[in-house]
C-alpha cells in the first residue's frame, strides 16, 4: 500500500489490550470495493472477512469507539452513550421501546451491550411456513448456515455445553461458564419440574482466556459494556483483525443517503461527520444498521428510479418488523440471591421452543436467565402496577431476594408491524425520524401467556414465595426480509437486494422469522456466509450492468 494514508488508533479493548496501531485511511473520493454501514454483529464480521479476502473496505459507524477503560463504566446510569438514543417514534397497540433496550451506537454496535446469549436457530425455524402454515420459509436451510454458526462460535467465541440438547446436535468450543445464584434458581426450578436445562451458556463469554481478552470477573455488568473484554463484541472479536487486514473503521459517521447513478447502480454513501457532509464512493454498499436504521436509510434514499426508497420496488422495505417477546418474570425468595453477581446470561431451556400440538398457539419460547440491576428492577416494580412511595422502597429492599427469568418468545412476522419515515419530524442531520408500528396478534399473546405461566412455575418450584411479571420485548429483526423472489422480499439468500446488483443488506433486518433465539450469532453467521459468496462472486455481482427486472405494476 505504497503512499496509502494511515491514521493512528489508540483504544483499550480489554483490561490487558490496547489497540495501538496504524489504520488504513481512504479518502472519500477514492472508490473502495465495499462501504459497510454499521459495525455490529453483521457489519463487524463482514469487514473482517472482506478485508481478509483482499477487498478495500470502509466501515461507516454512526457512533464512537468505546474505550473499555475510559468510556465504559461499572455504572447503570452512566452508560447511556452505548445506546442509540436519537429519538424514534413508536406506536401501535404494543409500542416497542428502543434505546437501552435493543439499540447500540458505536464500534461493535449492539454487541457492545447485549447479554451475550448465543443460541442457534433450530432447523424448523427455516421452514415455519411449510411446517406451521404461518410466517415464512427461509430461502436457505439450517444446513446452509450450520458451518457458519460453528465458525462464529469459535471466533466470538461461545461457552456452552459439549452436547447441546435442542435443535440439531452440536457443542460449544469453550466450557460452560460459572453461574451465579440467580441462574441457579432457573436450573433448580427446571430440575425439580423435570425440564431439561443447560447451564453456563451458550454465551459469548469464553470460560478461559482468549488472546488478549482475560476471562470474566463475574461483575455482572454485561449489559453496560464489558470493561474486562471477556464478553465478545465485534469490537474485540472481528474488528481488530479487519483493521490489521486494511479495513478502515470510520467512527462517528452517520449515513444519511445511498447514492445511485442513472444505471441504477449504487455509487456511494452520503454521510455526516463533524457536521460536514461527505460522500464515500464505493463499488458496492452493504447496509448493516439493524432493523430500524437499515430500512430508514433505504427509505430515505429516494430517486427517480426508486421514488419509494431504494431497493423498495416490492414495497417491503420496513415491513415485517419483529421483536421477540421478552416478558420478565421474577420471584421473591426467602434466601439471599444477590442477582447482580455473575453474567446475567448463564442458563436457559429451549424445551418449549417448537410447535407443540397440545398448545393453543404455534411455535414457542425459551426461558433464559436475566438479572436486572437496581434501576431496571425498580422499573419492573413500578410498571407492574404503578406502585410508588414507601411500598416501592420496601419492595426494592427485597432486591437481593429476587431472581428473574426472561421469556424469549417467537413473535410471528406480520406486515402490519413496520418501520416507516415520520411524515414531519426530522433529526439533527435533517433525516426523517424512524416511526415504528408494532402490534401483538392472537398467537403472540397466547404464546406469551404460556411462557409467563411456565416461568412462574419454574420460579415457584425453585422456592419463590411470590412471582410477578411485566411485558418486555427484545431484539429487532425482519424489516428487509430475505426471500425467494423480488415479489416476496427485499434481498435474496446472499443478502443482495433484488433491485440493485451492488447493494446488500446484511444484519438482523433480513431475517424472515426469528425463532426464540437471540439473533446476534445468526446475524454474524449470515454475514460470514455473504462474505464467502462475495469472495467467489464479487466480479460477477459487482460489475454486472444490467438491472434486475422490475415488476410491471411499479
Amino acid at each position: 500500500m505504497g503512499g496509502a494514508r494511515a491514521v493512528k488508533l489508540h483504544v483499550h479493548l480489554s483490561s490487558d489490550w490496547v489497540l495501538d496501531t496504524e489504520m488504513r485511511e481512504y479518502r472519500p473520493n477514492e472508490e473502495v470495493d465495499f462501504c459497510i454501514i454499521g459495525s455490529g454483529a453483521g457489519g463487524g464480521v463482514l469487514a473482517q472477512r472482506l478485508a481478509r479476502f483482499g477487498f478495500s473496505v470502509v466501515v461507516l459507524e454512526a457512533g464512537p469507539w468505546h474505550d473499555t477503560e475510559t468510556d465504559m463504566v461499572s455504572d447503570e446510569a452512566g452508560s447511556a452513550r452505548l445506546y442509540w438514543n436519537d429519538e424514534r417514534f413508536t406506536g401501535g397497540t404494543d409500542p416497542l421501546e428502543f434505546g437501552a433496550n435493543n439499540s447500540g451506537r458505536g464500534v461493535g454496535g449492539s454487541t457492545i451491550h447485549y447479554a451475550g446469549f448465543c443460541p442457534r436457530l433450530h432447523p424448523s425455524d427455516f421452514r415455519v411456513r411449510s411446517l406451521d402454515g404461518v410466517g415464512a420459509d427461509w430461502p436457505m436451510s439450517y444446513e446452509d448456515l450450520e458451518p457458519y454458526y460453528a465458525a462464529m462460535e469459535r471466533e466470538y467465541p461461545v461457552s456452552g455445553p459439549r452436547q447441546y440438547p435442542w435443535g440439531k446436535p452440536h457443542g460449544y468450543p469453550y466450557a460452560p461458564l460459572q453461574a451465579g445464584t440467580a441462574g441457579q434458581m432457573l436450573i433448580e426450578g427446571c430440575a425439580k419440574l423435570g425440564i431439561p436445562v443447560v447451564a453456563g451458556g451458550p454465551v459469548a463469554i469464553p470460560a478461559g482466556r482468549k488472546g488478549k481478552r482475560p476471562h470474566c470477573i463475574m461483575r455482572g455488568f454485561c449489559l453496560l459494556g464489558c470493561k474486562v473484554g471477556a464478553k465478545s463484541s465485534t469490537m474485540v472479536s472481528h474488528i481488530p483483525r479487519a483493521i490489521a487486514d486494511g479495513a478502515e473503521m470510520r467512527a462517528e459517521c452517520m449515513a444519511t443517503e445511498i447514492l445511485i447513478d442513472s444505471n441504477d447502480r449504487v455509487t456511494g454513501v452520503r454521510y455526516v461527520h463533524d457536521s460536514r457532509l461527505e460522500v464515500q464512493r464505493a463499488n458496492a454498499v452493504i447496509v448493516a444498521g439493524y432493523a430500524i436504521e437499515s430500512p430508514r436509510l433505504l427509505l430515505n434514499s429516494k430517486s427517480n428510479a426508486f421514488p419509494d426508497g431504494l431497493a423498495n420496488t416490492s414495497g417491503l422495505v420496513g415491513k415485517f418488523l419483529m421483536a421477540q417477546a421478552g416478558p420478565v418474570v421474577w420471584g421473591r425468595f426467602p434466601n439471599m440471591i444477590r442477582q447482580y453477581k455473575a453474567p446475567p446470561a448463564c442458563a436457559l431451556t429451549e424445551e418449549f421452543y417448537e410447535t407443540d400440538p397440545r398448545n393453543d398457539f404455534v411455535r414457542g419460547y425459551a426461558l433464559q436467565t436475566v438479572a436486572p440491576l437496581p434501576i431496571a428492577m425498580a422499573h419492573l416494580l413500578i410498571e407492574e402496577n404503578g406502585e410508588y412511595g414507601e411500598s416501592l422502597l420496601e419492595r426494592m429492599q427485597d432486591y437481593n431476594h429476587y431472581a428473574a427469568i426472561g421469556v424469549l418468545g417467537e413473535i410471528l412476522p406480520d406486515a402490519r408491524n413496520f418501520v416507516s419515515l415520520h411524515p414531519t419530524e426530522k433529526d439533527r442531520f435533517g433525516m426523517p425520524l424512524a416511526y415504528s408500528h408494532f402490534n401483538l396478534f392472537e398467537n403472540d399473546r397466547r404464546m406469551m401467556h404460556a411462557g409467563i405461566a411456565r416461568a412462574r412455575a419454574v420460579l415457584e418450584a425453585a422456592g419463590a414465595t411470590e412471582t410477578h411479571s411485566v411485558n418486555r420485548y427484545a431484539h429487532l429483526v425482519g424489516t428487509c426480509r430475505m426471500g425467494f423472489s423480488e415479489r416476496d422480499s427485499v434481498v435474496d439468500q446472499w443478502c443482495r437486494t433484488w433491485d440493485v446488483a451492488n447493494l446488500f443488506v446484511c444484519d438482523g433486518s433480513v431475517l424472515p422469522t426469528q425463532g426464540s433465539a437471540n439473533p446476534a450469532i445468526t446475524i454474524s453467521a449470515l454475514a460470514a456466509r455473504t462474505a464467502d459468496w462475495l469472495h467467489h462472486n464479487a466480479r460477477h455481482a459487482l460489475t454486472r450492468d444490467e438491472r434486475r427486472p422490475v415488476p410491471a405494476h411499479r
Binding site: 477503560e69 468510556d71 463504566v73 461499572s74 455504572d75 447503570e76 446510569a77 452512566g78 445506546y83 442509540w84 438514543n85 436519537d86 429519538e87 424514534r88 417514534f89 413508536t90 406506536g91 409500542p95 416497542l96 421501546e97 428502543f98 434505546g99 437501552a100 433496550n101 460459572q178 453461574a179 451465579g180 445464584t181 441457579q184 470477573i217 463475574m218 461483575r219 455482572g220 455488568f221 470493561k227 474486562v228 434466601n335 439471599m336 440471591i337 444477590r338 447482580y340 453477581k341 455473575a342 440491576l373 437496581p374 434501576i375 425498580a378 422499573h379 413500578i382 404503578g386 410508588y388 412511595g389 414507601e390 416501592l392 422502597l393 426494592m396 429492599q397 432486591y399 437481593n400 416511526y435
Partner: protein, 199 residues
C-alpha cells in the same frame, strides 16, 4: 409506616478506592455535583419536588443522606435528553414533564380547589392515585395518556435518578461497581467480605 434499615452496615461509597477511575469519576460526580435548576420555573419546581417526595419518601433519612431528585429531572429536560424513543401519543420528554405538572394542578384544583403543592400529603396521594388509575380530571390529561405519563415519565425517571445513587444502593444492599475487583462468592447469595449483610 416507616422504612426499616435492612443493611445498616452498608456503605458502597467507602469502596470507591476499589473502583476504576472512569466509574469513580461518574459516580462521585453524581454525588457531589448536583445541577442547578434551569428548566422549570419556581412553581413547577415546587410541584416537582412535592411529587418526588411522594414517589421516593426520604423523611426517615438523615438530611445529609437524602438523594436529590428534582434537579436531575430538570437537567434531563434542559439537555433535551432522549431515551431513544417517543410514544406517538406523547409529547417530547420536556413537554411531557411541563404538561404533567400542570395536570397535577388541574386535578388538584378539581378535587380540592388548590394547587398540588399546597395540599396535605394525603390529598396529594389521592391526586396521584387518580393519575395512576388513568382517568384524572384536567385538560392536560386529554393531551396525553395519564397512565403512560405516570409510569414512563414520572415514576421511571424519578426512580432512575434515585437508584443511580450510592445511598439508594446501600438501602437495598446492592454491591455497586465491581471493576476491576470482580465477585468471588457466587453461590447461595453469599456476600463478599466487603459487602453488607442483611439484618
Amino acid at each position: 409506616m416507616t422504612i426499616r434499615d435492612r443493611y445498616p452496615d452498608a456503605n458502597v461509597l467507602a469502596q470507591r478506592g476499589h473502583w476504576d477511575e472512569a466509574t469513580r469519576h461518574v459516580v462521585l460526580d453524581r454525588v457531589h455535583n448536583v445541577p442547578d435548576f434551569r428548566f422549570f420555573d419556581s412553581h413547577e419546581r415546587a410541584t416537582l419536588e412535592a411529587l418526588c417526595a411522594l414517589v421516593i419518601p426520604q423523611d426517615h433519612r438523615q438530611t445529609d443522606r437524602r438523594v436529590p431528585l428534582a434537579p436531575w429531572i430538570d437537567a434531563r429536560c434542559t439537555g433535551g435528553h432522549s431515551d431513544g424513543f417517543r410514544l406517538d401519543t406523547m409529547p417530547s420528554n420536556p413537554d411531557a414533564w411541563r404538561l404533567g405538572l400542570q395536570g397535577l394542578d388541574q386535578t388538584s384544583q378539581h378535587l380540592f380547589a388548590s394547587d398540588f403543592v399546597s395540599l396535605e400529603p394525603d390529598r396529594q396521594r389521592r391526586v396521584l392515585e387518580s393519575v395512576r388509575q388513568g382517568n384524572p380530571y384536567g385538560s392536560a390529561w386529554q393531551e396525553m395518556p395519564a397512565k403512560r405519563w405516570w409510569i414512563f415519565v414520572a415514576l421511571r425517571q424519578i426512580t432512575a435518578v434515585y437508584y443511580a445513587h450510592p445511598f439508594a444502593w446501600d438501602e437495598i444492599g446492592f454491591g455497586g461497581p465491581a471493576y476491576p475487583r470482580g465477585y468471588f462468592a457466587l453461590n447461595h447469595g453469599y456476600p463478599e467480605p466487603w459487602e453488607a449483610r442483611e439484618r
